[in-house]
Symmetry: C2
Subunit: 198 residues, 2 copies
């Protein structure tokens, strides 16, 4: 499976309510899931936390793929503009409609998709602006898990086989230990390699 | 769908390498995903971070379900003991075998399952101890997403319909807004209700 954008069109993730003091790691995980599960854009709001952007940029450089990285200090305006220009908005919330009930309709729509994932409380305007308020189970859990499951349902599990272009590193699946190949370089049985997760 | 333990047997999640200074929120998300996606136990290691345990306990009280909550300062011994007493170990790592290749075998096994998710670098002993080193895609992303996807594959998506026993709160899915019912109490269209996520 090749480039997700060519196959699925434009899918951006808008991470709402980021507070650098406590959300650095969670927002970075949201961005990493966006990339790994096939989204083509990640927008951080309302504060442009350079440490998050830097972590994501480093992963893009090493592990490949194309994903637009942006910040906005006015996410409501960003989302409103998205709809005005013909896109649709999917807001992930445990209060929404079950993903299984709406995913086929969402997948069939050719409109560019903006997936909104909030940290803590999301203002009511987003519920109203969204074309779909979608729940991944009706339990409190994690916006990271919710985004992963949503993209997995959207792409029917094929996102796990994405080939990210322009990668320097690639993993060779192994029953035990770690095997990483440097593209353009040699093979590297890197048992003591540092994990790249934030 | 009722109690996951009755249907699927014992599934515990061991969260490895927790450091209170930076992992509070991520480890709490791991615990919340464990509960919401049907695991029956969550073990935090090597430091017993009371704030994580307290958050999880509060969610269990409000939203129901039964999940054992424990800490261990010796996770390697815990995992070794698990195997000795007949259980099997699944270590989630981006270096492992693709989940789609092994999930049917894992699901069919009646042995109690200990799912290990690490923060950053996991020592080599766990790779050797594990019955399965399993990857959720071969990209760096998030242990929270990895756990959610793994449990989703294990339970074939049915975990999203779990009914958690002894719950005080329940969500009524809604296309817009938030609707929460207090079990034993009234309905509550809680538009300004604080999110329960950590």
């Amino acid at each position: 499976m090749g480039n997700a954008a060519e196959i699925y069109g434009k899918v951006y993730v808008l991470r709402l309510g980021h507070r650098p003091s406590r959300d650095k790691r969670v927002s970075t995980h949201v961005g990493l899931v966006a990339r790994a599960f096939g989204a083509n854009g990640f927008i951080l709001a309302p504060i442009c936390d350079e440490s998050v952007v830097r972590s994501l940029r480093r992963v893009l450089e090493e592990w490949g793929g194309e994903m637009l990285l942006e910040c906005t200090d006015n996410p409501l305006s960003y989302a409103t503009q998205w709809r005005r220009s013909g896109g649709e908005i999917i807001h992930l919330t445990m209060y929404g409609l079950p993903v299984d009930n709406v995913i086929d309709t969402i997948r069939m729509s050719p409109r560019p998709k903006l997936i909104i994932v909030g940290a803590e409380k999301v203002p009511g305007q987003y519920y109203e602006l969204a074309d779909y308020n979608v729940s991944i189970g009706r339990q409190p859990h994690s916006e990271i898990a919710a985004l992963a499951l949503f993209l997995d349902r959207l792409y029917k599990g094929l996102e796990l086989y994405l080939e990210h272009e322009n990668r320097c590193l690639e993993i060779v699946p192994s029953p035990g230990g770690k095997k990483v190949v440097e593209i353009g370089g040699g093979s590297n049985a890197a048992d003591d390699r540092a994990d790249v997760r934030p």
